[in-house]
């Protein structure tokens, strides 16, 4: 009993004395985007990172059924921090008898990235579609210290 009390006091003291544990907060931002073959222009998703952000987590998922999609991540200095591309073999349109449940032509891509002490400013996730039919899910996690 005495030992348990000692451990509890130690843990409470640790939590109070350590500002990162005691005063950090997490903010999740989720976005879903669907692109059709009519979306020809590049799209930019902007994430505002402040000086207080101690960690930025990015989790980008995409599924492409038609055409191709390239995803690039840039920091506020314009330096590329990651990229990937997914390309379907179907280039123009889906076959009339295409059964979406079979996922025969579906192509998937995912990137997970955690950036510690990210540069403050606008981080950009650039979507570059080419006659694409795609769904994209972007989960971003900001951990800030108050």
């Amino acid at each position: 009993m005495k030992r348990l009390l000692t451990i509890s006091i130690f843990l409470i003291t640790l939590c109070i004395s350590h500002p990162a544990i005691a005063q950090s907060s997490t903010f999740d931002l989720k976005r879903s985007i669907n692109l059709t073959s009519n979306d020809k222009d590049d799209q930019s998703i902007i994430l505002n990172v402040t000086e207080k952000t101690s960690s930025l987590g990015l989790d980008i998922n995409c599924k492409v059924l038609l055409g191709s999609l390239k995803i690039e991540i840039y920091n506020p200095k314009g330096e590329k921090q990651g990229e990937f591309a997914v390309e379907s073999q179907l280039k123009e349109k889906l076959p009339l008898n295409y059964d979406e449940s079979l996922n025969r032509e579906l192509v998937e891509g995912k990137i997970e990235k955690i950036i510690s002490d990210p540069i403050a400013g606008k981080w950009i996730i650039k979507l570059i579609p080419t006659k694409t039919y795609a769904s994209i899910k972007i989960n971003s996690r900001f951990i800030t210290h108050n």
Binding site: K63, S68, E79, G82, E83, F84, A85, V86, E87, S88, Q89, N103, E105, L106, V107, E108, G109, K110, I111, E112, K113, I114, I115, S116, D117, P118, I119
Partner: protein, 346 residues
């Protein structure tokens, strides 16, 4: 002789020999089961969690820019992974030169053509192979992308490069920005050293690719120009793309030759033009060529200072005919008097 009757040393040697034979026999039977012969192949054992489909896909990466592109058209082969984790690709149809390939797995319920970059679920790794390669692969800790290559030197270097890149990434996950920059620079230097000392061109270029050379070219141009010089005979698409990104070295020797050639060419051109001008027929000579045979005879006599009467007598033609010819000669030679004819240059 019974084993018990032998001296201790002999008994020990006999036991060791028997043990070695048993071991050899067992290992041979193991290899005959899976790693059977010396044919070109990519094979190995992988241990995976149940979230993954027991199937491996081999994709051809035709260009370094396609390393993180997923397309079904890039997949060239697939292999089932049996219950022991064994897989095998026959690769005798691959090009004879080294090319870059990607091995990947996909999650149950996900598309076969899926790529996961980063995190614990990274589902791919890269290898260099050709039609004669014999590559054995094992993964560690149930993580697909954390692999070990048995004996294959080229892919051991690829593995070393990938380990350095993982270290860079893990630093970026946890360290402050300044420390992360220092560590990244140090590791990129290490990758450049590997590229510099590696004797396999594509593996060497892979190390450079992973060092993110594009942002370093301006600061370190000499290094990249030397690298190109070292691999000047490499003409694969991988090298063509790389060479196109590095500024060409300005060669002082070449420019001197160019200047000397220009001077020689100028002189040559000068001589040629001068010769042509000299050879060009004189205007007056050209005019003379327009005269008829009879007119030339009369012209010669006019130059000799003969009168119309003398010409008429010499040529046995009438005076009026001589006058008509003289008039025509004046016109053709654009002269107005006999004096001008006498001074006319042939």
């Amino acid at each position: 002789m019974k084993l018990a009757n032998l001296p201790f040393n002999d008994r020990y040697v006999n036991l060791l020999a028997t043990f070695t034979l048993i071991l050899l026999f067992n290992s041979n039977s193991l290899f005959s089961q899976n790693f059977s012969n010396n044919e070109p192949k990519i094979e190995g054992h992988i241990v995976l969690d149940s979230i993954w489909k027991p199937k491996l896909y081999l994709s051809h990466i035709s260009d370094f820019s396609k390393m993180y592109t997923m397309s079904r058209s890039m997949i060239i082969a697939e292999s089932d992974v049996d219950s022991s984790g064994y897989f095998k690709f026959n690769i005798d149809y691959l090009p004879k030169n080294d090319n870059l390939y990607r091995l990947h797995i996909s999650k149950k319920g996900a598309s076969d053509a899926s790529i996961i970059i980063g995190g614990k679920e990274e589902n791919h790794f890269f290898i260099v192979a050709n039609k004669a390669s014999k590559i054995e692969i094992f993964n560690n800790n149930k993580t697909f992308s954390d692999v070990t290559f048995k004996s294959d030197v080229k892919n051991k270097i690829i593995d070393k490069v990938d380990d350095i890149v993982k270290l860079i990434d893990s630093t970026n996950y946890s360290a402050t920005r300044v420390k992360s920059e220092f560590v990244t620079n140090a590791f990129n230097d290490q990758l450049r050293k590997i590229a510099d000392t590696c004797s396999y061109p594509l593996v060497s270029l892979y190390a450079l690719q992973k060092s993110k050379y594009e942002v370093d070219i301006d600061n370190n141009t000499d290094y990249y120009q030397n690298f190109i010089e070292k691999w000047k005979n490499e003409d694969s698409e991988y090298f063509k793309t790389f060479k196109s990104k590095v500024p060409k070295r300005k060669n002082a020797f070449d420019s001197r030759i160019l200047i000397a050639l220009s001077i020689l060419l100028s002189f040559g051109l000068g001589f040629f033009i001068n010769g042509k001008i000299r050879k060009r027929p004189h205007k007056q000579t050209l005019a003379l060529k327009t005269l008829s045979v009879q007119e030339r005879k009369i012209y010669a006599l006019l130059k000799a200072g003969k009168s119309n009467k003398e010409i008429s007598d010499d040529l046995n033609i009438g005076i009026s005919t001589v006058k008509s010819h003289v008039s025509s000669i004046y016109q053709k030679l654009n002269v107005k008097s006999r004096k001008e004819i006498i001074n006319f240059k042939d």
